[in-house]
Amino acid sequence: MKLHEYQAKEVFAEAGIPVPESRLASSVEEVVEAVGEIGYPAAIKAQVHVGGRGKAGGIEIVTSEDEAREAAESILGMDLKGYTVDRVLVEAGVDFVDELYVGVTMDRSAGEPVAMVSTEGGVDIEEVAAETPEAIAREHVDPAFGMHPFESRKVVYEAGVDREFAGDVASILRTLFDLYEESDASEIEVNPVMITADDEVVAADAVMNIDEDALFRQPDLADMAEASYEDDLERKAGEYGFDYVRLSGNVGIIGNGAGLVMTTLDLVDYYGGEPANFLDIGGGAKAERVANALDMVFSDENVDSVVFNIFGGITRGDEVAKGINEALEQFDEIPKPVTVRLAGTRAEEGMEILNTDLVTVEKTLESAVQRAVADAEEVNQ
């Protein structure tokens, strides 16, 4: 779960990390009022869950009320990589002399957290990592102990941070690491940490992502969750509780288990079709959930055919068949051709239950996918 910059900065400020003065605004008038209070220069920053906001035109620096009004008008309501901007953070501009990168994340391969510091702040850190990996100092932290103070100093010195500010930066890193642990974050990143002309060290940006599996013990953070979907279909999937990803093709895909659903997508592509979505109904789905999945995929206007691929372990073929029948029997005419392949637990019972007037049944994964791809092609001829 991603926090917005303004939310992450509230968390930072509470933990004692210096952040610039700011106000949240959702209208042009609110922006003008906020800038009036904060003074110039100020930054107007779109609050949406996308990276690279600056490059995409979602951040502007203003030095007068006219500029503030103009920036607010252009940013509020704009489409930023698929998300509509409905709020901006109005923040005091920082007169900085240097920009650093400070972050904490989980190193999957090592199975432990890693702290990262770089003097190449203010730019895309993934580019830095790809082109000059030596510019990022890293320190793995034993999760049983947490970050020792010496570790924070070690990585800050190793990164080559100006000695005058090393203590302050190390202190911020330590606080960030404590936050990372206490809040079950999957990632915390400050890019940039600014060294100001007045020799202060402030967190000018804030990225904080929380492990969704840990939200049950992070009630305050869970309350900050704002459903953020790229379109109505992803919103609907969120309501149904499906793992769903919309893609650009026209063959709708429903299956059970992430690996098998991904494989079904790959096979659609392999046999010359284009997958419209990833939809995992999960383990042990009952009839109603199966019907919801079909409703979900039918709602995508790009979909021309649907392939249903179930290999039952804890999911039962008869339940799946019931759900498919229920979903399809309510239509006078089936909206899009559906191909079903059932295998595993109670697959034979499921095959008997399936209403074959409404669906095409295929015995193998490969033949089911080929059928759905052919159906989709037929629609477009």
């Binding site: 957290p113 049983a144 840990a214 893609l247 288990g257 790959d266 990833f278 372990g313």
Partner: protein, 289 residues
């Protein structure tokens, strides 16, 4: 004839009085697994699925001479349940639970490096040695006894490939689902090493997916250390970057790491044929035998 589990494995089921735990304990017993006890705090003295329940794993291990556990405990308590299995100590713990917080697993992972217990999972279907024992939720009826080892991050994809093998009359020595989470107890390399050491495993199938670097590390291991032939499969070729495909671990990061192509290339470089379809994987296995 197998790795990690066989008909001598004595199993305690952690969470045996819960719905899932009870159902799958019965299924495991029906398959022939030597389930000897359950462990549930506060339920000691009861009987569940026909076996005695103890308050602690250690008590179950001592009283019933158990050496392995299967964990069906809700996510909030699963990390603790794994620590308890390590403390008992057991030789093997299989964590089925999905949704264990990653930082809990980081702590578990640290402890694993200090003990002799092997952890499989979490968020996995478990492990089965056909005809002998199954620890987990895999549907026993699709497996058959034989000489092909199988290791996979995904449950249902495992079933798909096993089914293809079984239909061709190719049986399995052991199949292990290692789980789809970012931090897991048993990696591909761990499972491959065990298969390499098993004289009765004549070929191995490895089903990977996008995300992380486990498959690349496995490829390096295979090139260096394995004589047993390996057939590969990688799911997620069509996955767009930045989108999590179901599994917490299945994501191609923005910087392009964890892509299907990098994994396929690494495996090919290690001499591992990677099938385009599950049937092609079965073809490749057949060619090894």
């Amino acid at each position: 004839m197998s790795i990690l589990v066989d008909d001598d494995t004595r199993v305690v089921v952690q969470g045996i009085t819960g719905g899932e735990g009870n159902f799958h304990a019965e299924q495991m017993i029906e398959y022939g697994t030597n389930v000897v006890a359950g462990a549930v705090p506060g339920k000691g003295g009861q009987t569940s699925a026909g076996v005695p329940v103890y308050d602690t794993v250690q008590k179950a291990a001592i009283e019933e001479d158990a050496d392995a556990s299967v964990i069906f405990v809700p996510p909030a308590f699963a990390g603790d349940a794994i620590f308890e299995a390590l403390d008992a100590p057991l030789d093997l713990a299989v964590a089925i639970t999905e949704g264990v917080p990653t930082q809990d697993m980081a702590k578990v992972n640290k402890r694993l490096s200090e003990v002799d217990t092997r952890l499989i999972g979490p968020n996995c279907p478990g492990i089965i040695t056909p005809g002998e024992a199954k620890l987990g939720i895999l549907p026993g009826n699709i497996f058959s006894e034989g000489k092909v080892g199988l290791v996979s991050r995904s449950g249902t994809l495992t079933y798909q490939v096993v089914d293809s093998l079984t239909q061709r009359g190719i049986g399995q020595s052991t199949a292990v689902g290692i789980g789809g989470d970012p931090i897991i107890g048993t990696s591909f390399v761990d499972a491959l090493a065990a298969f390499e050491d098993d004289p009765d495993t004549e070929a191995v199938v490895m089903c990977g997916e996008i995300g992380g670097e486990d498959e690349e590390q496995a490829a390096a291991y295979i090139a260096e250390n394995m004589e047993t032939p390996v057939a590969g499969f990688i799911a997620g070729r069509t996955a767009p970057p930045g989108k999590r495909m179901g599994h917490a671990g299945a994501i191609v990061s923005g910087s392009g790491t964890g892509t299907a192509q990098s994994k396929i290339d690494a495996l090919n470089d290690a001499g591992v044929p990677v099938g385009d379809t599950p049937e092609e994987v079965a073809d490749n296995v057949e060619s090894f035998l």
